[in-house]
Symmetry: D2
Subunit: 503 residues, 4 copies
């Protein structure tokens, strides 16, 4: 069986340590023990543990026809709408265990995106990429590899296309092609969980034309390949993890993102899935982003649950959980959280099939999901701040609590309702601070899987505005050509489907 | 085959005209020609036409095992999640045809509610209601009857239970039981489409205790039964329909609601499904309201489409459809509309089964759907007002347009972009005014299927707050008893399921 | 003394009836008795009554140096920030008396706009307009004239300038100049209260260049001048007023807007204040719109008060006014209402002086006020719908109540708490329906004094974005040229002030 | 002259260092050099510098009749509405200089609150407190003292009154009264800027009854009094300041709040202003909170300006500042910022006088101001996150930038538009992160000067709901007792004014 335990993953990631990883300007020797990165490694590990924990293993294990064995869902190719829904449910569950992003979805979505892409290429007569990808997929499933997905480029001047940039490496590109493989240079930014990964699946970040063909490249490489440098980014509250405490920095679980430099990196040819195939970049981006937008309905709802629980408990510690305005605010948190989840479920169960055996999410519902996620977490967060009280920004540190001269005072003045200690209060305040005001909920919710403007572009593309106009004209008694024969939902015809049909 | 055409429905409703219907204080002889009611009749008729129109018949016709024949979906008992989704899709489609509420959902949801209720009663050993109900259902399906559903009582003092009310008839109640049937008195308020119906299915409006048993009654009666009086309610802009014009009052399609008085009405025993069965009232209300809340994801999204189309067309008529702020507003209308729809789809495809062969909606998603519908239509409406411009509140009447002394001036000064006439503009302004600011979108969206507060109560009941608290406590490092063994979604255990299990 | 009573105004407006006014396609002989217009006349009349009512006369009367006597504030030229605040306070008060727009502000703001304009022209050496205007002003104040203000043109194709329009009359223009006066043609749209006015003050609607000089014209004419035709616009619920009832149509107070056609209308030269003075149009529009935006902080807050009172009373009638969620909603209505008012007060008391003796509002605060008014009324309205319950869209008509066969049933089933009758409930439902969902609150709030986009343009013009950027650069430690010497508030330098300075 | 320079303040605060201040569990010897506290000291210092900087000195200096000399506005007793507006303007200005809370307002508002309180006591015949307070005030003004204000108690169980608490010291109380002075014990929580202060002005935190009289105490003490311990609270990102860098932690300006323990602290009798005067606690709290709520219209608008500037600059660095959706978002930030400011200005210029020579803010407008501040900063913050892009949560640290092996890569991949360096981008990202997502904007905005629920209570108390109900009843034609004689604004009658009148 290819399923690894969390411990096996930790052992593997320790060995992988040739990777060149920098944190706060210094190279890290062992990411599993580095205090800045360790919480991220533990979050990533939770995706492996999920396959063994009683309450998640039914969701986390799934039979793969490619290896004729069980695989971890994070490396699975969706085979039904239920598979897609299981992804969302599993993501919500794991969020409950780590209270952070567990960072394995990008690789997961990248695999599924490549699967549809190479299938469409095969349908158009180019079968080799599919053969190579399926081989790669088997390896990933059998070895239960920890994948990062890398999409966003450095981008330079936003208004210019890749080949127009003054910095030719502003987007990752092929600089040389040999018989055995290719050399690539450039940088991918905001790469989630990359320092916790064993391999990086690299995809192009935008639709490209023929002049951009050197930038139309997709491949996979080991994270510790020569020429790769990972600069881990800063986050709100990150420096607290270095204090060595056990409370304030929430040192157990977190997530990270990194700037990944590719400085003349070699990729063997059997790991190259797109090479100057610019025709497929538009739909590839569309497929990936919809997959990734769907997932947010699970993981962000899961963080919503954590925040609801923390808000509720802090209200109890102050003795105000029955005040009507507190109840209203908690109810609102629930509504917002469940709305994000409902959209994610719709995107899954109302899935579409761009090719036989392929299951993509429903693109309109997926974009709705993510757009909700760009708005509601900020509202949930503000509600939680309101419920928690000013203490969220003023509570003493764990070091004050541990100072014998101060401990008694803090115990005396921070206790609310009997049955909860001052330490309980500080612990819950810190959890809420780090989850509710942390980078995963405040920033990644907005920009992950595309900024709000990206979803809005999709809304206008997926929605059939002419049809609605004709509906209105007919009702208003204006001359209208509509005959109400449109049978599919207005937004089913996507770039991807057009490509699928054009075969 | 039991399917009727729209014309057949019109003929039948004409004959039914013994019903005592009052409009603006006067009794109506023929509802199909009365100018106040005719638009409502035409909207109701659209649900029959849907079974014959090319673009909707696949959704509107469905095979029923009860009669072993096709039936109109509005009289169908759901047999799968896809059935539930088909309801939502059909509702959206018919909204495009009438731009109003078509009023047949309450009867539809009442049938499905009674089906689960009598099934649960049967499982508890009381089989007679099920036998009676199935017979009734066959009649309804074979004759393709037009049903109204009646739930909301007059209610009197809101803070008192039925038996505590100073007015004993504040809730509909059984006043006498004979061998052949029962006599009921009271009133049901806000009854959608009742003057367009052939029969009324009456359900209790709240959970009741043993003291309220006389109020725990469910039954069906012909709309023209002796002792029934229907007082049709007023609505925004209603008086315009009496002007006899063809534009300003949108005279073709509308909807109505009525106050239905039951003054010692006899109900034959084979149409009595609940009789003092107060134990089942709580779950009956829960089942009905969730069914009805799910449906709003279809019909209100459909009205959203009409408004989007009208906004877009008015922007085109003024030549501003490409202005970035107009595009942003239309995109926002799309997002809000598609969010309501996505939630309705989730409530359908993620359905639950409270009993074998029964398909209920997902209650959490259904409540999310309706709660969105209490908020987003008002936002869509405001966006449409913004896009349409001040003309929405100041445009001349169709009578000015038809006055030869004024027509030329209006033609000259109301035209915007060439290709659209002043009449086009007035027609579209009136459509938008009547749909966007009309009662169906502004008021029914808020209060139909339960006011916002009702959904909020459900959120706190369906959501497992203790579980989330334990999740937070564990993450914060506080003592917690949670072992993460909870396998079902937190909100799956409803009153209905408890009852189902208790058998 | 120039102050007229409301009755004197009514008598005068009756006599003025040469004006050519059309309602629903028919010419109206006497606007004071026409059932469609009468409520508007009564609202306008309230501005005269205000000068005599005990609770408003201190606000409504003010001493004018021009006539050395008391004048009605609606014809007053502001002489201090307190004058500006008195306007806002008075507007809020009169709203309480009529629950509608009383339509005299546009003329009021037009007078003040012209006063600053001619003053600035005088400072640039063109003194004649000021002389003519002051003479006109004295007449207006002495006779206490009822003025309408007319600004918005028909506009044709929105993206073209006046002189580029295919329809040359899309904007009102001078077609001929004689020694005695000028002839004008075109149309002004959405003219508030015009059928209730004695004279119309006409202003240009946008900044113009030299090619548009024929459109750069400001003047005053009697409403019944030859060649003027007024087509009164439709509004939500307007047809109910024609029923002759006393409840449903709120027949006592309302407001109207009209399309005013100028078909070769002669204006004597002493009433022409701008003639091809295109240089002054930009600031004239800026001055007028800021004055008018400020006022909304008074009148719309006043309507907010009416809605709050109606919501609260309906909650009491149902016995739920103490439910915590009802209290939350009423509190929110208060907050939203008081916010609009606070902004209007700031715009008044923090006024600026573009010329000696001139008091203009604070333009940034005035734009804030109006922009709040484009958003909050819709929210207040939705809250009121929520509080009122479904009855708002389904209550029986007054004609049902008056039908002896129905009256008893309605009395029995519409009563809630003892002490309120069914008639009380219907009366309050109708008030709320007509005020909260009426055109003044739903549409005029959005588009009056400029659509939301117009305020947003002003925000970017009035706000000193470069200054804020320099502030940020300095704090970030980037090279910055800011020396923090900027002494005035960032947004004080307006087009108007630039013009004032340029003298 | 009593005005000190910033440097003089620094020298004084260095000498004061007997105060027992703890940061992260360790006692701090010199707050002016401690890396955690230094940024707070520098922010506080800015209030002294303001009296000497060219662009602020006119606002920051004000003549005091008490000392017949100029004093720093932060120690001034307001003598006019213009004084109150000057406070708001000055606060906005200083925010531009420090991008943080400068912490001197609480002391400022405490002085003004005590001034009205002792004046009202004097009017009721108790003149000694006023005499003592005026003497104290002179000292403060002459020496230009840095005051902290301390109001919020530890509070224990929120639902119990002070004398009911299991912990008798849950509220600060008098434990002993001698001829020379009093002894107090308890703790004050969330005390802004306390470690940067020379004296602490202590006020009761709630209205009290006779049983709570030991808790009804107001006084002033030097910050370094024996028995006082200050435990400085944690904040988002605080640990970065300890890294010794110059960019990431924004080490130049910040703010802090502390838990202040009073362990048997002696207060000389001439510094005791309230002693068991429980009758005055209600209005004291009302006065203070309204003063403090008004101020937020200045300081938070100032932070809004910083965020607008930072957003705009980051958009420019990426080359997208002209994209229409970016412009819409910046415009929205401006609108939200200017709305908070407008409300603060209204609260100032529409001030009320509870006693002759006293100027209090307008309480309704002040509560509106603060309630806006509990909502809008979160929205501004989310807009800024949207504009800034994902880099806000993923940018490399300054230590990466300073690593010669990485610097070149970062320079290459983080640069956007030419003319800005990667360092520019990182600097601006860090500023935005620390200001927009920092504690002052995210948490203090919600809870400072009372949580949202506290303002909502005031709305219902200040608003005359009965009056609005009568207005609605009269308009609806219901029997109403209103005669519209109410002349003052509905909300002018406060607890404070009632007390003032009762003399």
């Amino acid at each position: 069986m290819g399923l690894r335990t969390g411990e096996q993953y930790l052992d593997a990631i320790k060995v992988r340590n040739k990777a060149e990883v920098y944190v706060l300007g210094k190279e890290v020797k062992d990411v599993t023990t580095n205090p800045f990165l360790k919480p991220s490694i533990l979050s990533f590990k939770a995706t492996f543990d999920a396959a063994w924990d009683e309450d998640t293993k039914d969701l986390a294990r799934v039979w793969s026809p490619f290896i004729n064995d069980e695989t971890n869902r994070f490396n699975h190719i969706h085979r039904s709408p239920d598979d897609l829904a299981a992804k969302v449910k599993l993501l919500r569950k794991i969020s409950h265990k780590v209270g952070a992003c567990f960072q394995r979805c990008v690789g997961f979505d990248a695999l599924n995106t490549l699967y549809i892409t190479v299938e469409l290429m095969a349908q158009h007569g180019k079968t080799e990429p599919k053969e190579k990808f399926v081989e790669y997929l088997k390896t990933v499933q059998k070895r239960d590899l920890a994948l990062a997905g890398a999409m966003t480029d450095a981008k330079g001047v936003r208004t210019l296309k890749p080949h127009q940039q003054p910095n030719k490496d502003a987007y990752v590109r092929v600089t040389e092609v040999t018989k055995d493989g290719i050399y690539v240079s450039g940088a991918k930014a905001n790469i989630t969980g990359v320092a916790a990964s064993e391999e990086i699946v690299v995809l192009p970040t935008r639709a490209m034309g023929p002049e951009d063909q050197d930038y139309a490249v997709a491949f996979s490489v080991p994270t510790d390949s020569e020429g790769i440098k990972i600069i881990v980014g800063r986050q709100l509250n990150d420096a607290r993890r270095l204090e060595g405490g056990e409370i304030d920095g929430i040192p157990y679980f977190y997530n990270h993102e990194g700037l990944v430099i590719f400085d003349h990196v070699f990729v063997p040819m059997d790991r190259v899935f797109l090479l100057r195939d610019w025709q497929y970049t538009g739909q590839l981006v569309e497929i990936f982003s919809a997959y990734h937008r769907q997932g947010y309905g699970g993981c962000k709802a899961g963080l919503g649950d954590v925040i609801i629980g923390a808000s509720y408990n802090l209200a109890k510690q102050a003795g105000v959980e029955k005040a009507s305005h507190i109840q209203e605010k908690i109810t609102e948190e629930i509504f917002l959280t469940e709305t994000m989840y409902a959209a994610g479920i719709a995107a899954s169960l109302n899935a579409v099939q761009p090719c036989p055996g392929c299951w993509w999410v429903n693109p309109m519902h997926a974009n709705v999901t993510k757009h909700l996620v760009t708005r509601f977490p900020s509202q949930i967060s503000q509600l939680s701040v309101d419920i928690a009280g000013g203490i969220l920004g003023t509570a003493p540190s764990e070091w004050d609590l541990k100072n014998p001269k101060l401990r008694e005072y803090i115990a005396k003045y921070l206790q609310g309702i009997e049955g909860y200690t001052a330490e309980d209060r500080i612990r819950m305040v810190r959890l809420l601070e780090n989850v509710s005001l942390g980078v995963a909920f405040q920033i990644e919710s907005v920009h992950g899987a595309g900024s709000p403007a990206a979803q809005r572009i999709m809304f206008t593309r997926l929605y059939d505005l002419s049809y609605s106009e004709e509906v209105a004209k007919r009702l208003a008694g204006m001359k209208s050509e509509v005959h109400f024969t449109q049978k599919t939902e207005p937004w089913r015809e996507t770039e991807t489907e057009k490509l699928a049909k054009s075969k």
